[in-house]
Amino acid sequence: MTFLNAHAELLITLVKIALLLFIVLTVNAYLTWFERKVVARMQSRWGPHRVGPYGLLQPAADGLKFLFKEDPTPEGVDRVVYYLAPLLALALALTSLAVIPFGPEPLRFFGHDIYLSITPPDLNIGLLVLFAITALSVYGVALAGWSSNSKYPLLGGLRSSAQMVSYELALTLSVVGVLLMANSFNLKDIIVAQAQHPERGIFGWNIWPQIIGFLCFFTAAVAETNRVPFDLPEAESELVAGFHTEYASFKFAMFFIAEYTSMITVSCLCTIMFFGGWLSPFPASWTFTHYLPSAILIPFGLWLIWAGIRYETIFGRIILPGLGTVIALLGLTLAVFPGVNSFIQAPFWFLAKVFVFLFVYVWMRGTLPRFRYDQLMSFGWKVLLPVSIVNVVITSFIILLRSGWK
């Protein structure tokens, strides 16, 4: 017990890390499921529905498949780098989540404040850390492409490193506007700065003054994460599978997870910097909106029970109603206990916004065609960069005016 008290901080942090990892990995898995489903709907298909009810167990199956597939190492690869690359990619992607704050006030637990982020909330350079990690995440792809000792991966690696370096500029610059408005690198401060006028609600967020910045940022971020329409490093139509052509089974899975994790990170960033993080879109005075979570969860749970009973497979008839019950009960709890209710607000809104962004990602994947490489480059250098610079100039000018030329 003394040991616990002595190193409580350390332990708590470790626990938080473990928890976050579990959650994120699960979310990643089901993100794939979600993506496949949505894209299928867009293409009016069913998507996965064999494994488990509504294909809910598909991710698990995929995971097993990755684990048990043969893992060949091609001839003449540079072994160290070849093994290092996926590790690097995954590690960096996961690390970037560490600085994300999911909620403002701590959880009181045995006399310890447990903040909803791994790093302490007063981390002054949260954003810088994020950018640093993003900057480093080039190496995963580039090295993978180089070490595979094969031409398609090499090309993929070259492309990705060029692309990432180019778009990183726009990425960083487009945020400067937000930083100027919050004048801090601290993510928490950035969110708080958007709540200066609680009665305004959604209209106090940065998205309105920084719309240009947001567009630049989101575009650049999509490019940074090598997603459609900027997924040239892994353009299957020209480069087989791009930088991870030579990677199989779990090493491939690492890249996969890294990509989806960075998607999540970017969504979190957008939420924090432009969409007021955990802030509720409604004016603070509307307390009844606090029941919104339950108002969503309970009906959803009930629908799930109802639909589950009528599901064709036995397994589904057992699983789905149970799941529905859990969700409904959860909603009920939120409605009943005001303390829990008020605590859950912030994470709820945060996750909701993140979910929206993830949906946008999938949406784009389903709809947009891929850029051509020269288009990509010229777009990054000739459109994105200048626009974001202009944005910075305008913002700072306005701020200067506001402050009365001090």
Partner: protein, 167 residues
């Protein structure tokens, strides 16, 4: 053995090892990777000293831009492992002891100096990021503008150099 000291020793060892492997590795990519290790370790040291902004910039610019450029060029030129030529051995023979001697000199100079000052590790006290920005835009504004001009020139130079000649 305060935790800072432990951290310092670890990071210092990391950086030195990285530098050594930069020398010993035959392949440029490996050298580049070891250099990246050194840089990250140095960033850690900066953090340890409370210079968090410098640390971030170190990683973003050095790690994220410059070294990426190096790796990119190495990949582009498909540079192979180094080859030995006669003169290089001689330079090595001359250079290694000389470098060691240089290091010894500097180290000795520091040893002679009466420096026992402690680095204040508390970042929050200094809040450097803000102060640094103020210094840059107030005291060092002319050097700052000069560097911007330098970058402009460098960009043009790089374009001129690397641009393909129109036949």
């Amino acid at each position: 053995m305060t935790p800072q000291l432990i951290l310092f020793i670890v990071l210092a060892a990391l950086s030195v090892v990285g530098a050594l492997s930069l020398i010993l590795q035959k392949h440029p990519i490996h050298s580049a990777l070891s250099l990246i290790v050194v840089m990250v370790a140095l960033a850690g040291l900066y953090l340890l000293m409370g210079a968090e902004f410098v640390a971030a910039v170190q990683i973003i610019v050095y790690g994220g831009a410059i070294m990426v450029l190096f790796v990119f060029v190495i990949m582009l030129l498909n540079a192979g492992a180094e080859e030995y030529t006669n003169f290089s051995k001689l330079a090595g023979f001359a250079g290694v002891p000389l470098g060691i001697a240089l290091t010894g000199f500097i180290a000795a100079a520091i040893a002679r100096s009466a420096g026992t000052a402690q680095v204040s590790g508390s970042a929050a006290v200094l809040a450097p990021t803000r102060t640094i920005s103020e210094m840059i835009f107030k005291d060092f504004v002319y050097p700052f503008e000069l560097t911007s001009f330098l970058i402009l020139v460098a960009i043009m130079g790089a374009i001129v150099l690397a641009a393909h000649k129109e036949e």
